[in-house]
């Protein structure tokens, strides 16, 4: 954070090479250099930024382990600014996760394993990945943050849980393929994500950083559209085009406080009521005879 309480975030809207981890790591270095020169304090890379998205059977070959030497190389990228990197993480028991890793000052601060793995239509993630089992926030030098990877945000509960943990910002690395052609100037996917991300920011009075990739894999296009949204739901910065771009935004972190005074939605949230009602729903579901 800068002395004036502002945070400069960068979204690295990049086009990772499919299955080429070495090349992608080198490109991460270039983007880190560029973002550092631009004064960024935090740089977010898209989902699976080290590997590309439609990996299929390349998942095991593309994976990293938390005791791999590459972890030190990734850590080294976070000397001058914090970074969020997308990677396939292999556990010692050989389960593979679609994960996002937060590094700061050379250290791994947090790792989020994608919980909701889309397996429908063009998506087949559950065939290759194991699902994460938690949503947890973590402390950063810029307040409390939480990471949700792409499809995670299509489940209301994920962002809601992070919100109740008191996050100041939700970081959403994404590899969203564009689809839905109408008369609109944007793809249907872009419209949907704009709606969802803005809604979360406003409902949960939190900053929302959405970093989507660009490029093509097997004919599918990734639409970019990376955006930084303020806790009042306004878009602070957005790259509308599907070109590689460094999206920069200067955030006044005190806006979270001001927004929550104006709109005390979080204060009024009835956590116990929600838990009780969810437990009731769960009991009723499990009590069904068949």
């Amino acid at each position: 954070m800068n002395p004036d309480g502002r945070l400069t975030v960068g979204l690295a809207q990049i086009d990772p090479a499919l299955g080429d981890r070495d090349r992608n790591l080198e490109r991460h270095r270039e983007w880190v250099r560029q973002a550092t020169a631009a004064g960024a304090n935090l740089l977010v890379f898209p989902e699976l930024s080290l590997t590309g998205y439609f990996l299929k059977d390349l998942v095991p070959d593309s994976a990293i382990r938390l005791d791999d030497p590459i972890m030190r190389e990734l850590g080294a990228l976070s000397t001058d600014l914090d970074i969020v990197v997308g990677a396939v993480v292999e556990e010692p028991d050989h389960r593979y996760f679609n994960a996002s890793l937060y590094f700061s000052r050379g250290e791994l601060v947090h790792l989020h394993r994608k919980v909701y793995l889309p397996t429908y239509g063009m998506f087949d993630e559950q065939r290759y990945f194991a699902p994460g089992d938690r949503f947890r926030s973590f402390r950063t030098g810029f307040g409390r943050a939480g990471i949700l990877v792409c499809e995670d945000i299509w489940h209301l509960s994920s962002a809601y849980i992070l919100s109740l943990e008191g996050v100041d910002m939700i970081i959403c690395p994404s590899s969203s393929p564009g689809r839905g052609i109408t008369t609109d100037e944007r793809l249907g996917t872009a419209e949907s994500y704009n709606l969802v991300c803005r809604t979360y920011a406003q409902f949960l009075t939190t900053f929302f950083l959405y970093c989507n990739r660009v490029g093509f894999e097997d004919g599918a296009n990734f639409w970019g559209g990376s955006m930084v949204i303020g806790p009042n739901g306004d878009i602070i910065a957005q790259q509308e085009d599907a070109d590689e771009a460094l999206v920069l935004a200067s955030l006044d972190l005190a806006e979270v406080r001001r927004e929550r005074l104006t709109n005390p939605l979080l204060r009024d949230e009835r956590l116990e009521l929600t838990i009780n009602e969810l437990r009731r729903v769960w009991h009723e579901r499990t009590r069904k005879p068949f």
């Binding site: 499919l18 080429d20 439609f54 059977d57 390349l58 052609i181 109408t182 609109d184």
Partner: protein, 284 residues
């Protein structure tokens, strides 16, 4: 059957596209899928119809006219207008052109099978053209860019390993009525956009006569059936005739094989395409 009147009649609203957005995506697609596999050039069969004219335009814009080779491959019964339309597109775009009259090689073959019907001859012509394109793909180090649209692919209205063969296809997810819109917006000559669609395998052939239905009706039905998975009962409630619906469903189902690789007898634990699954862009 009347001409499609592709520009004058209103398009079914859900299939109206923003041509600028689609063009931007397709040009990005071509650049990306060609260059990342180490190519810089494209070759296509240019018939003078709207599909190949559109693809030629997209290819020229994506990679530059000097990197596009249009091969015009008439048979002696092809409509001369097709050739002149193709030449107009070549001239307008400034792309390379190669003309090969396929009559001698087709006729030489069918001398041995004089009783072959039109369909057999048409399929042979489509496959001759394919071999010519792939020969020039190798000779000129160019990828073959396909020109089959979504309507044709779904109905199987094409020759397997003939006109359906290509390395990349930018318009395979656009219905015919959407091809018309994009072609018009991108500057394909109006006469080409408006003429009655024809495979031109023999004189007077017409897609819509052969199919028995107009593309605008077929595309509407496919939109509900394929894109939104309407059931037959729901389609009838929308006013589609049952016979029409059944005919289109049968065509889509019966031609599924054309859209897939040959079926492989499974023996091992890792069979190609069944449990050996790698992206097409593997290593790129």
């Amino acid at each position: 059957m009347s001409a499609p009147a592709s520009l004058s009649e209103p398009v079914f609203a859900p299939l109206v596209i923003n041509p600028e957005l689609v063009k931007r995506i397709l040009i990005g697609f071509i650049r990306n899928e060609v260059r990342k596999v180490g190519f810089e050039r494209l070759v296509l069969g240019l018939s003078g119809g709207v599909d190949s004219s559109l693809v030629a335009s997209l290819a020229a814009e994506a990679l530059g006219p000097p990197n596009v080779l249009a091969v015009i491959m008439p048979y002696k019964t092809s409509d001369p207008k097709s050739r002149s339309d193709a030449l107009q597109v070549v001239q307008q775009l400034g792309i390379h052109r190669l003309e090969i009259d396929i009559s001698p090689q087709i006729d030489a073959y069918f001398e041995r099978f004089p009783d072959a019907d039109q369909k057999r001859r048409g399929n042979k012509m489509a496959r001759e053209r394919m071999t010519i394109l792939y020969d020039h793909s190798f000779a000129w180090r160019a990828l073959v860019i396909g020109t089959s649209n979504k309507t044709e692919l779904l109905l199987g209205y094409g020759t397997i390993y003939g006109d359906m063969a290509s390395a990349i296809n930018p318009i395979g997810d656009l219905y015919k009525t959407q091809v018309w819109q994009l072609a018009d917006a991108i500057g394909v000559p109006t006469a080409i956009v408006q003429k009655a669609p024809s495979a031109d395998l023999w004189a007077g052939q017409s897609d819509e006569t052969e199919l028995g239905f107009q593309y605008r009706m077929i595309d509407q039905l496919l939109y509900y059936l394929v894109d939104h998975r309407y059931r037959v009962e729901e389609l009838k409630r929308l006013g589609f005739e049952e016979a029409f619906v059944e005919d289109i469903i049968r065509r889509v189902r019966d031609n599924q094989y054309k859209r897939r690789l040959p079926v492989i007898a499974k023996l091992s634990s890792r069979t190609i395409d069944r449990d050996f699954r790698y992206p097409r862009d593997w290593g790129h």
